[in-house]
Symmetry: D2
Subunit: 340 residues, 4 copies
């Protein structure tokens, strides 16, 4: 069967690498273009683990060339830059899954959180937020531009969704979230220096983190009422994975919350509602989200675990690409965790 040619723009980062890894095992996609800001020779020069695995060259990102070769492009580049590329690719008929924040928010929320004016309002108007649990499968199937959700919003929203109908949303939802360091990308900083992370744990940008408006905007849509969140991201001394503890005040009595979550996700093959707190290690390497919920004193405690680079970025992007290209959501998505 012919494979569908796709491009990765931003192949040199961690999410670019994860996309490559998924596509190498994907039965229906093939890598037609690996783009970066500069040509960089074989991809194994950039990602040494790909030595002997794939010989594709990293090329300078050229819109025409991508349009000539690929049906869909994944954009794994910084925000602002993503919108500029997306705009041109869409104009040339290439479908786009954008892993940046550029098309996730309303114009108002985007400009407040990311600064400056949004540079592609036209496409923003019809971009679809790529979380099928929230927007439905068909919206993504019909989309030409999908905004791939942020990692923290993915973990937070998946945990909260089953309980929104029972929530007292006059109070903020509390999200105490923890991420592995790979979420910070390859850039060097105090926050990614081994000595500062190892044997350490700390919050960064609590309450004011840019993922907070994304969480609030999407929960508001899901709840169909204004929803506030107290969002606290924290850095774990680990490379991969993310856990969100979500605390929701109840407006009414509910039955066993884990049963409610299990029923809510009964038809979802990538959300595992389990009988004990989720462990980051059991989802690392996969598209799974693991969820567990309890209640006490009128409050829900629900926890979700995801791989921040996969369900929180690259495998979610692949799931969206699957739908946009007429494939089953599940095609080629990673399910076998790295554990032990």
């Amino acid at each position: 069967m012919t494979k569908i040619p796709v491009a990765i723009v931003g192949a040199s980062g961690y999410t670019g690498l994860e996309l490559i890894k998924i596509l190498l095992n994907h039965p229906r996609f093939e890598i037609a273009f690996l783009g970066a800001s500069e040509a960089a020779g074989e991809i194994a020069k950039t990602h040494k683990s790909l030595n002997f695995v794939i010989k594709t060259e990293v090329e300078k990102t050229e819109i025409d060339e991508i349009a000539r070769r690929a049906e869909l492009a994944f954009l794994a580049v910084p925000h602002k830059q993503a919108a500029r590329i997306a705009k041109e690719l869409l104009a040339k008929g290439v479908k786009v899954v954008d892993l940046s924040a550029d098309y996730r928010l309303t114009r108002e929320n985007y400009e407040a959180a990311y600064g400056g004016e949004h540079e592609d309002l036209e496409n923003l108007a019809h971009a679809i937020y790529g979380m099928s649990e929230l927007v439905g499968v068909s919206a993504i199937q019909n989309a030409r531009l999908v905004a791939n959700p942020g990692c923290y919003p993915t973990a937070s929203i998946l945990a909260a969704l089953p309980f929104l109908p029972f929530a007292d949303l006059s109070q903020p939802i509390i999200i105490d979230a923890k991420s592995g360091v790979s979420g910070a990308g390859k850039s060097h900083s105090d926050r990614t220096h081994f000595v500062n992370v190892n044997e350490n744990f700390f919050a960064y940008s609590p309450i004011s983190h840019r993922h907070a408006p994304e969480i609030e905007e999407k929960l508001t849509i899901a709840a169909n009422r204004e929803t506030k969140a107290i969002f606290v991201p924290q850095l774990l001394p680990a490379t991969r994975g993310m856990i969100a503890s979500v605390y929701i005040r109840l407006a009414k009595q509910i039955a066993d919350p884990n049963t409610i979550a299990r029923e809510f996700y009964a038809a979802n093959q990538f959300v595992r509602v389990i009988n004990e707190p989720p462990q980051m290690k059991f989802v690392a390497g996969t598209h799974f989200a693991d969820i567990y919920a309890m209640q006490k004193d009128g409050t829900i405690f629900v926890q979700s675990a995801i791989d921040n680079l996969l369900r929180g970025a690259s495998s979610a992007a692949a799931a969206n690409a699957n739908l946009m290209c007429g494939l089953d959501l599940a095609r080629g998505l990673p399910t076998i965790a790295y554990a032990p």
Copy 2:
């Protein structure tokens, strides 16, 4: 100046080791007895890092011998066992700092959380909970039996205390807490196996953990109103340290919460209210608790960091012993962190 002779019962565990380390540098205490369930030769056989540092022998715990030699005993043994030893030592005039849970709670709360009947109700009646921020310095100065607080309660209560006057306590306080693995002690289990902890993060005994009733009982006393907590302990892939994220619903508007915390702890030389989220690494090795607070949407987010083995156990015990022996609380307490 003559030194005050003290005993450590339970010298072979991590908190025993930390007590030894503190006492070696303490200007007014000297180690008069190191006890364990069996004699074990020089302490460096048990704690190899003490080779060339201290030659004291580990002896079988004998009440009479301790009473003959020591003015005060630290009990670093499991609950139940602690009460049996404390009872006998107190009867012989030895002051006791008990690091177990045996004298921390009311009889009712103790028996509900730890099972069985409390075996020393007489001393339980006059035991003092050893957190000076909560009970005041003089109560500890006059005590002959101090129940050293648990690590999670210490981190949680120190964070919550400044905000109880402003809290809406009709709702539970939410405590999302994270601990290094040393809190689990030396025992071998799935939860302390390196492969299960490394590159992982997970909650254990959420809501039902035995420190929950301790937290609720003490917060209720501090607030002078029934106070509930949703307490979620989680295991970090790190050896030492603890961070508690505490979320408190406000009953009324307040000014800048960090200023409130700073004023609350203005006279406290071991609580550092800082201008950014605390880092576990900057308190590891010390008696300090670092605190930072923010508010949003009628909710306080306050975070505390402590060394679980020190402020959460052994240096807190030393602080209590200082007061019980007429010394300044601060004498000989560790202040220089292990960082980097």
Copy 3:
């Protein structure tokens, strides 16, 4: 195309899990039996990461049942136990890849290193040591019993092989090796306690480790001269992976050692001779061995990196099974590393 049914005996350990993970992705093998000492319900009860992935039940190991269902069995059980099971399976016509040490050594070396009498001398006589680089592909293709090499011997021998022809073997080869903790298995011990491993590094059983005779016996065969080794295994604060630094005294001048290694392994698609020291992370999750060599003052320094659970155990076993069942060595072997 019909798949070849295979059994895993010892499905509950780490190497059992890795075998399952490989077989799930293998185009020609299917899991026909998962055995353990006791029936244990669905495998996801034992390996939680397999939840939603595979529903196969773990059964009590029954020789007849395995023989009825499987053409080949992987034995991932302790030595001694392995020989007892292998003997019976072979008698019933099932091919065996034994991951234990039971068939790796001559009787003399085995009994000296592992104690007691070897219980299956008959099969020992025709067992093949499953490293194709050493014994050739056809020996394994024709074998009905393959002794899968130990992890340390694999890393050590692959590094040393290209240089044996140039070595002064009157002197021992020095092997300074480092392993992740998963090599110690799931058992609880001081050596696997997180607190003892984290922020630590130490040698265990230096010189006397049981893999030393395996290394010496196989290098002796490869060199066709008695070869001695100083073998020092060390524990890394990491879960997966292994690096061996091998130092070999030269008997004669040689050209660039990395070129020699590259030519030696030119036809080997799973040995990557690279231009800088190998990194453990770039082979973790794969069957690759990465190798780099230098020389100075008449001495070769050559380093190899492997995944201790894969190239050092389970993917090597799969490679051997491929050959024993008439497949290409490379079929279904993992090549995509977990990095980042």
Copy 4:
């Protein structure tokens, strides 16, 4: 008793911090000057763990000011820069312990390893290499300029010293060394990025590392014969500590090597010859070096463990300062490890 005023030039790095920590507990030294390239306010702004501990200001390094206030200066600045400062301080009568490489080597070796011309040949001529085990205590007592040894040379030389009289030095000594990441300092680089270090292990600059000539030069002096080394430094996924595996070919038969080492270091209170392989964790936080030796097939395997930032830098500097100021070598040196 009056304290001796000392300066730290380069207070903002890890070794600067460790010097501060030692001096805070030192009975006879007091910090008279903390210097950096720019004034930086209270030292706790730079090293946050020192908040509430010490309020000294970090000043711009001014030679005259240091000379006015301090009797001795520790230089914890990069090489080249160190020589420029040392030269001026010495001219003004300030004793200097230089933690850089500037005065460790002969001019020839220095210029070959570090490039450029040495800028202070005059002082280089009388600088003393600050390892008392090698040069004797009195040489340091009489020195006004001490070159503090590198971390790798310290670990390597301490391990090798007892065996040089028995060694076949026609062959290189093999040194397979492993260091925690703090050895790389605070600078950001791929090699200090958490994601690249965690769950990883690799050699860097094998054979060609700048510490190799230091090791060879000093071993040559100690052995009184030309001595070569194959030196392989490797990065551990840990913050602190260093282990060197040293392999030495014997020229003659020797008795038990551990006994030889124990007798060699019998009078040395900071070298612990132990009965099992040393563990990095048991020396972290201390000035101790732990050593263990075995032999096989005419080859010594000897391993040493040190804290790279202390025995490998700052506590060694303090020991040298003690001697240079007429104090006992041991005064105020840290002996209590961070373990657990």
